[in-house]
C-alpha cells in the first residue's frame, strides 16, 4: 500500500514577474508523475524555506530571471540547512550567466538550467538525484 511520490517545490524568488518557465517545468514534472507544490510569484527566501519545511519536499526548483540569483540562492541554501533540510536538492533555472553557474554549483546547487533546456532532462536529473535512478 505504501506509495512514494517525488515532491517538488517550484518557487520564484525575487521581484521579476515572469512565471511562464516555472509553470512549464511544473507541468512537465506533474506529467512525469511528481507532486509539484507551486507557490507563485515574488517569494522571499524565508517563504521558500518555510514552504519546503512544511511540505517536506525532496527538491526545490528556483526560477530566477531577475539577475539576483547570486544573492537569493545562497540565502535559500543557508535557510534549508538551518532548518535541518540538508537532504533537499536545489535546482536553479532561468537566466544565469555562464560564469555564475559553476559558482552556484559550488555552493551546493544540484544543477543549473538555462533557456532551451529540455524538460525531459530536468525530469531525469531529478529522478537521478532523489531516487538514484532515471527510471520511474
Amino acid at each position: 500500500m505504501a506509495e512514494r511520490r517525488i515532491r517538488v517545490l517550484i518557487a520564484k524568488p525575487g521581484l521579476d514577474g515572469h512565471d511562464r518557465g516555472a509553470k512549464v517545468v511544473a507541468r512537465a514534472l506533474r506529467d512525469a508523475g511528481m507532486e509539484v507544490i507551486y507557490t507563485g510569484l515574488r517569494q522571499t527566501p524565508e517563504m521558500i524555506a518555510e514552504a519546503a519545511l512544511q511540505e517536506d519536499v525532496d527538491v526545490v526548483g528556483l526560477s530566477i530571471l531577475s539577475g539576483a540569483h547570486m544573492a537569493l540562492v545562497p540565502r535559500v541554501l543557508e535557510l534549508l540547512r538551518q532548518n535541518g533540510q540538508d537532504h533537499v536538492k536545489v535546482f536553479v533555472g532561468g537566466i544565469i550567466p555562464d560564469e555564475d553557474a559553476p559558482r552556484l554549483l559550488e555552493m551546493g546547487v544540484h544543477a543549473v538550467y538555462g533557456p532551451g533546456t529540455l524538460t525531459d532532462d530536468i525530469v531525469k536529473d531529478i529522478r537521478q538525484a532523489v531516487l538514484g535512478t532515471e527510471g520511474e
Binding site: 500500500m1 505504501a2 511520490r5 506533474r30 507532486e35 509539484v36 507563485g40 517563504m47 514552504a51 519545511l53
Partner: protein, 344 residues
C-alpha cells in the same frame, strides 16, 4: 524508545521538521507513520476540525487564508494556532499533481502559529486523499487549535469531508447554476455553514435567496437522526432529545477584500458552541473514529487477503470473468473460498 516514538515526542514538543516528516510517513502509509500515529493518538481530540468544500474557483483557498489570518489576529482574545491541509487532485493518468493552494495563502507566511500542508488526492474520489484523516490526527496531536481541511474542487458528490470535520463549510459563488442545483442531493446537504463568496458579483442576491429557500425545505421542524445526510449507525448516541436543530446560516463573503470574514468566524464559533451544547460534538467525534476504524479495517483485511491468495488463482479467476464464464459475484466467492482472511 523506538524511532517512531522518538519522532512522535518531537512532534508533541512542537518540532516542525519532525511534524513534517511524520506527515510524509503517514501520507505514504509507511510503518513509521502508523507507529507515530499510535503514539500521537492519545493526544488527539482537542482540535476543532473545519472542512471547506465547494466547486473549483469558488475561492476556497482565499477564504481559508483569510479565516486563518483572522484566527491569528483576532480583534479580542488569544490568537489560535491554525493548521491547514489542502487537497488537490492527482492526475488519473500519471499520478502527478500540481498543488497550488499555497499561492492564495501568502498572508500566513512567516507565522510560526500556522502550518500548511498540501496533499495530492492520489486516486481517492471523495474529495480528500485516503490518508487525510491521519494527517489531521497528527496536526491535532501537535496542538493546533483549528485544523482546516480544504477539499479538491468538489462537484456534487464529494462529501467525505463531512465525516471528518466537526464543522463543514460549503462555498458557493454567484452564477454557477440555477436554483435546481440548490435542491439536488449531495454537497449542499453536508453544509453546516453555507458561504456565498465573491458576493460583489452579479447574481449574488439570487444565489443567497436560492440557498436560503433550499434550507427552509431541507430543515423541517421534525427531528431525524441523520448525520450529514448519512444514516450512520452510531454505537452510543448522546444527543439530547430536546436539543435545538442547527439551521445552516448563509454567510456572504468577499475573500479577496477581506469582507464578511468576521461574520463567518462568528458563524463557525456559534456552530462549535451548538455542537458542544447538544452533545453533537461527541457524536461527530464517534462517527469520525468509527468511520476511520472501518476504513482501516477494510484496508487491512484486503491486504491480508491479498497475501493469502495466489497470483495464479487470481489471474485465472479474472480470465473466467473476462470470458464471461464466471459472474463477478461468483468470482468473489471463489477467491474468498481459497483464502482464509487470517493474520499472516
Amino acid at each position: 524508545m523506538t524511532a517512531a516514538e522518538h519522532i512522535a515526542t518531537q512532534v508533541l514538543e512542537g518540532n516542525r521538521l519532525a511534524l513534517s516528516r511524520v506527515l510524509t510517513f503517514i501520507e505514504n502509509d509507511q510503518p513509521e507513520g502508523r507507529e507515530a500515529l499510535k503514539a500521537l493518538f492519545p493526544h488527539t481530540g482537542k482540535a476543532h476540525i473545519v472542512g471547506v468544500t465547494g466547486a473549483p474557483g469558488t475561492g476556497k483557498s482565499s477564504l481559508v487564508n483569510r479565516l486563518a489570518y483572522f484566527y491569528r489576529h483576532p480583534p479580542e482574545g488569544d490568537p489560535k494556532r491554525v493548521a491547514i491541509v489542502a487537497v488537490d487532485p492527482s492526475s488519473p493518468f500519471t499520478g502527478g499533481a500540481i498543488l497550488g493552494d499555497r499561492i492564495r495563502m501568502r498572508d500566513l507566511a512567516g507565522d510560526p502559529g500556522v502550518f500548511i500542508r498540501s496533499m495530492a488526492s492520489r486516486g481517492a474520489l471523495g474529495g480528500l486523499a485516503r490518508t487525510t484523516a491521519g494527517l489531521v490526527q497528527a496536526l491535532d496531536a501537535a496542538g493546533f487549535d483549528i485544523v482546516f481541511i480544504e477539499t479538491v474542487g468538489a462537484g456534487q458528490a464529494e462529501v467525505d469531508v463531512a465525516r471528518l470535520a466537526h464543522t463543514t463549510l460549503v462555498v458557493e459563488a454567484p452564477g454557477l447554476g440555477d436554483d435546481v442545483q440548490a435542491i439536488k442531493a449531495g454537497i449542499l446537504e453536508i453544509a453546516d455553514i453555507l458561504v456565498v463568496n465573491k458576493a460583489d458579483r452579479p447574481g449574488a442576491d439570487a444565489t443567497v435567496r436560492a440557498l436560503t429557500e433550499m434550507l427552509k425545505m431541507a430543515h423541517p421542524s421534525q427531528e431525524t437522526i441523520m448525520h450529514h445526510g448519512q444514516r450512520m449507525v452510531v454505537e452510543v448516541g448522546t444527543r439530547r432529545a430536546d436539543a435545538p436543530l442547527w439551521v445552516p446560516p448563509v454567510v456572504r463573503t468577499i475573500a479577496v477584500e477581506n469582507e464578511g470574514i468576521a461574520d463567518l468566524a462568528a458563524a463557525i464559533a456559534r456552530h462549535r458552541a451548538h455542537l458542544q451544547e447538544t452533545g453533537e460534538w461527541q457524536i461527530r467525534d464517534r462517527v469520525r473514529l468509527q468511520s476511520e476504524l472501518e476504513n482501516l479495517l477494510r484496508d487491512t483485511l484486503m491486504q491480508r487477503w491479498r497475501a493469502t491468495v495466489s497470483t495464479d488463482l487470481y489471474r485465472a479467476t479474472l480470465e473466467q470473468v473476462f470470458s464471461r464464464r464466471l459472474a463477478p459475484s461468483d468470482a468473489v466467492a471463489q477467491l474468498l473460498d481459497h483464502a482464509s482472511v487470517a493474520p499472516n
